[in-house]
Amino acid sequence: MEKIRFEHLTKKFGEVVAVDDLNLTVYDKELIVLLGPSGCGKTTTLRLIAGLEFPTGGRVIMNGEDLTCVHPKDRKMSMVFQSYALYPHMTAFDNIAFPLKIKKLHLNEIQKKVREVAELLNIEDLLHRKPKELSGGERQRVALGRAIVKEPEVFLMDEPLSNLDAKLRVFLRGELKSLQKKLGITTIYVTHDQVEAMSMADRIAVMNRGELQQVSPPDELYHNPTTSFVAGFIGTPPMNLIDCSFIEKSGRAFLDAGEFTIDVSDLEGTLKTTATGSELVLGVRPEDVLILQGKAKENGDFVASVHTIEPLGLEVIVTVRKGDKLLCIRVLGDFRASIGEEVGVSINKQKVHIFDAKTGKRCNAA
């Protein structure tokens, strides 16, 4: 069921286009993440939803109602800022109670609601403290408390975990996710951390330079990126993206990457129809490449030399080089080789992603 819809949402700051013709639907009770590098427009989008910024074009619709002329306080949304924005001169209790106090609720009711929320978040003992007496994680929970107590229809979260240390972040990711599921409130979550997005989101909307690149559930984003940007952004270590051109030779089709060529005759059909030219980008994930050592090295697509080896316990990340091109490969289990050793590289043609170099869009079918 649709909760919020963006129609041709555009925001310009002078000449700079922060959000460019965004069209997106957010469904009821889902946790959707706006993901992208800094400056991609995700925070601006969030502020447009909240009503702190006004769109240059397009509109935001919630529950069928156009929000353009609705004041932030009437939008039934709560926002958790990156800095939490906890009022420093008020105790945790007063911070959480603030929205209720503004609504002029009765003192008893305020007390009841605040305690309920505090219990939910496990911060009952901290209520009398001021923000400066709280740790990062505790402050975060107070900020959440303030957002929850309003009983909003939508949660807006602007990188709420980025100010915390790594361990706490990992722990709170799970907590936030289960809290959201429990409360069943539609949540729009902004982050630049793709691991965070992948682990928390029902769907992820990837943005770059104000444009929506793709919106899909995490799995699909990983396995079927529709643009080269998304392909390169999602996944650690990132997908290998190699510039190449499409050539036909003696009845077979190849991707020529300069240093090496790959036979893609099986995919020829789709490529010819969707590509705008012959300039393409070949994408293949590190786990979809095989290393062949010893005699077997001639059996791969081409031969390269070992550049670096990073043993990570469960797996080894090997970078090989051919000419000026580097390829990142994931090897499970043990791997022994010396730097500079020649090895064979075999790319799984079933798992390649081919993108148009000019538009960035995907050319081959999933």
Partner: protein, 294 residues
Amino acid sequence: MKRESLWHTRKAYWYIIPSLSLFFFFFLYPIIYTVYISATNANFFNIMKGPTFVGVENYETLLFEKDFFYSLIRTVLFMLTSVPLKVLAGLLLAILFSSPLVKAKRILMPLALIPWAAPWFFSVLIWRGMFNVDFGIINKMLISIGLSPINWLNNAGNAFIAYNIVEVYLTYPFMMATIFSAIQSVPPDLYESAIMDGAGSWAKFRHVTLPLVKKPLFWATIMTGIASYLIFGVPFLLNSGGPAGENEFLLVYGYKEAFNLGRYGYAAAFMILVFILLAILVFTFLKLTKMMEE
């Protein structure tokens, strides 16, 4: 809605209007009214019945009035003496109190600033007492070291000196504090890098402190220059503008024309001229310094 953001709203005007109207009605409008008055022959006798419009007559009279020019010259003289004194005092004191060699700065400096808090006329009148020929403490101290007492306030020349002393006393805390905070805002790394380059104290002052302090110093000089030009309270309260009006600086002269002689229209025209001249002075000064910078 064509607005940019929540902060772009016309309601902003409503929040500003109260203070703006207060300022307009009780301050700005009177200033404008001064222009009107200057074009009438308003004086003590006809003010209630309604003075008549005389156009630029007052201004004409003024420009031929020699007292006006004497007053202007005296004021300029005062500016030429007091401004360097005040700026130097502020600068030297600021340097002194920011020197690492001075101990107990945290106690001494606030103490040195206390005269700032005293109401100005309070200080001026105390000085009036101290300058008294017969029993003023200053003359008593002079006598005790064998010098003869000076007739401070009844002698035009000495009174001029007295004005300077009092004016420096009144302004040194402010100048000192302004320049001091400008000095404090120089990042310490600059000094450290100068030390590494082999700079001694004087070189450090000349090449690090001075350039960065130049701008606040410049503005402080302008402000204090304007203050000297518009000096009123000090000469007026010390000795009513010199024995027999010999030290009547511009604003003192204007005040007396208005409230001792009751020539309101004339005095208003005088004030307007004073301010026009001020604007010209400041403008030329700024233009000159800008030209010198290029």
